[in-house]
Symmetry: C2
Subunit: 492 residues, 2 copies
Amino acid sequence: MLRPRGFTALPRAWPSRAASSSVAAAYYPSEPVAPSLVTASVPGPKSIELNQHLGAVFDNRASYFVTDYGRSVGNYISDADGNQLLDVYCQISSIALGYNNPALLATAASPQMASALVNRPALACFPPADYGRILQDGLLAAAPPGTNKVWTALSGSCANETAYKAAFMYQAARRRGSLDFTDEELTSAMENQPPGAPDRAILSFDKGFHGRLFGSLSTTRSKPIHKLDIPAFNWPKAPFPALQYPLAEHVRENAEEEARCLAEFERIVRLHPPHSIAAIVVEPVQAEGGDNHASPAFFQGLRALTLEHDILMIVDEVQTGVGACGKFWAHEHWDLAVPPDMVTFSKKFQAAGFYFSDPALQPAQPYRQFNTWCGDPSKALLARTIYQEITRHDLVARTAQVGAYLYGQMEQMFARHPAAVHSLRGENFGTFIAWSCENPAKRNELLMRMRSVGVNIGGCGNHSVRLRPSLVFERAHADVFLEALEYSLRAL
Amino acid sequence: MLRPRGFTALPRAWPSRAASSSVAAAYYPSEPVAPSLVTASVPGPKSIELNQHLGAVFDNRASYFVTDYGRSVGNYISDADGNQLLDVYCQISSIALGYNNPALLATAASPQMASALVNRPALACFPPADYGRILQDGLLAAAPPGTNKVWTALSGSCANETAYKAAFMYQAARRRGSLDFTDEELTSAMENQPPGAPDRAILSFDKGFHGRLFGSLSTTRSKPIHKLDIPAFNWPKAPFPALQYPLAEHVRENAEEEARCLAEFERIVRLHPPHSIAAIVVEPVQAEGGDNHASPAFFQGLRALTLEHDILMIVDEVQTGVGACGKFWAHEHWDLAVPPDMVTFSKKFQAAGFYFSDPALQPAQPYRQFNTWCGDPSKALLARTIYQEITRHDLVARTAQVGAYLYGQMEQMFARHPAAVHSLRGENFGTFIAWSCENPAKRNELLMRMRSVGVNIGGCGNHSVRLRPSLVFERAHADVFLEALEYSLRAL
């Protein structure tokens, strides 16, 4: 099936998709069947020229290529030169249903959307009459098991930071009981000093990524370049398991590693005064940090320890959430007896925020968890359509299936290239699949080779590659990807 | 002209606007000529019922009333019960051109908007081909004098925080010179410790408001309820002048107060090691903090001191910016010899971010000022239309004129109610007008009375009222407002 050859020709006779079973074909009758490259390399000359103009006014040094979103369709992203690439990166894991999805275009053209855009409300002060319904049918219908309330924000960073604020206010209220704020608290808060601005902390994990604003960046532990020169809170971090692959061959070592991390977590907690760690924040898979997984047992152990020490548990599903991981929410894999206290989201939902259930996580006084906009109804409308389309087309189960197929094929392929790639991970985790390369230079070379045969793909960590396709990435797309990967690995 | 009477009847025969000179009439042929109240009080029964449902899933305890945005038009906001109120609060100063503005509706219906919504890009990695043009014709065409670059964010809070990050990276790079990061910096940054995560600070001013995320909240000094229980950076604050009104009667006292504040600012700066204060952040008018003004001489003095001490100056125009203050940017009133290093914006532009000119404020390495979305092209499209409409209709000059009329009328009115209201402020500052009441209870009573006669209006500080109408608030609207205010003051 794998036929190594060039990808530089225009679309060729690829096996057509069985329309009856393909959601992508139903959404995108004109989706290409293969990448199509019309310039010798990507970015091509038009991308380069447009980028030079853009660079005069906007920091675009991270640009892959200038994109023609009008011509992008389904799983294929088009660049300014007319190249069409299979996209398994999807705007850093943010495109849920493919480019120019017709259901989302209908939502974008709706009178509700027009009103949400041109009459942007201060949601907590002047809520639109339909906002409750939009939340109920969308974001809240998608709420993780055990949660039934939502706070809406604007980005993954502020989703996490507002969750942190909820945790700090909750812990302070618990300690304060029914008492009012003291004069000392009222005065010291204005001076940024305890007890009003207390020394409490959010504990995060080594290699975790939770955003780039000041609170979230203090919990981000991915790479120095994310953190250098920015003041940070003196908050603790704990080790995250470094599992060895294949998992089946390292059962004992990995169990020991997870036990070590749990013990170290508990040791760090005990070093801190009781209740001085308000919450932990943890990703189901540390995505930016290198797609680091841990077992359900590890997360069950963490949950037990947080309950024992009266620490809240915030699960950051900004990258893992909304269907790509084999469940709607990745932490559903854990089978926790007590659900997380808060679950944050953004990216594939366009809308951002956090879920919770304990009413005490909503501060007793208004105007504490508050800001001008408190979210954005235009994004809540998009999230509702995204949720409804995922449900209607059973996209979580479909993504789990294509992920299983992809993983199986890659397992076989990687056995043929043991020097180039290793540590394939994400089995039974939908299309949330990653692997590692020999070193950062080889990883970057592989990313470039994949692009040169028409696949847009991203790295993570120092020497890993991550797959982040949309939820309408199907077996036919997987086959295109697999052929490109085999070709690229042989050329390495 | 002021005819105290009830406002509870349906629209009455109000003098019609001279269409030839009214932008509001051109935009909004069906805009009401007066408030219209159909329920005995606001919120009415439908608002209350809808709010009870919404409260089950969303923190809406700050709600004024549930809003019918579909029926809102121009300067009039409609609630769920069918009441139509003249809006001089405008979603906490966020509605630039009135409700359901036809030019913005056209932008909302454009193919560019549809694409921006459904194909939301990771702007720094996959910039749309038209993003440079959208910025050039919109946000950058509106750039304050002396700035020519923009960084786009999502809210006022993250506009300020990304500006703070730019300041910290700039100061560290200046000190580091051409050297690379040291191993100690690389290692300590990952531990949230200096020197990698340094002890530098942003200095802000007493009663300033700059947002509610962790970095911005550390610079916010408005009220304890905004800050309580949230850990904060140990950053310094300086006093902001407390001017006495009328200004003409307190020339000497106010000059002394501003000199005192400048001296105290310099004293605080000198207490800190050189370059440990990376930047100051200051609002042209401290809006949330009570509409506190200071003279151009004060800001000129601040600018001179920041230059002398090698401290960056960030002007927070989140609330003051975009045309309501008599200039497009409020700090244009100051006639600074050297422009601010960064100017932040959000609210009326829908798009958020900061302006700058020094290329060194863009870090030398990519991926440092970076995040998944780096802004939102759907908001940049709205900002472009807002800017173009402001220019086309000369709305800054018009708002300055109506503000001058309003201020003059209020000055006369307040002379008749010296016990109820005082410290009228905002002369020559467009419609950015405020005043103080006897005490917080009387202020809140005035806000309620204004609402009961059909004017939606907001407070600021502890006992002040602020006007924040749109830029299409004209003399006819001012007359409706003035009559409602006279009636309410008499009833106090």
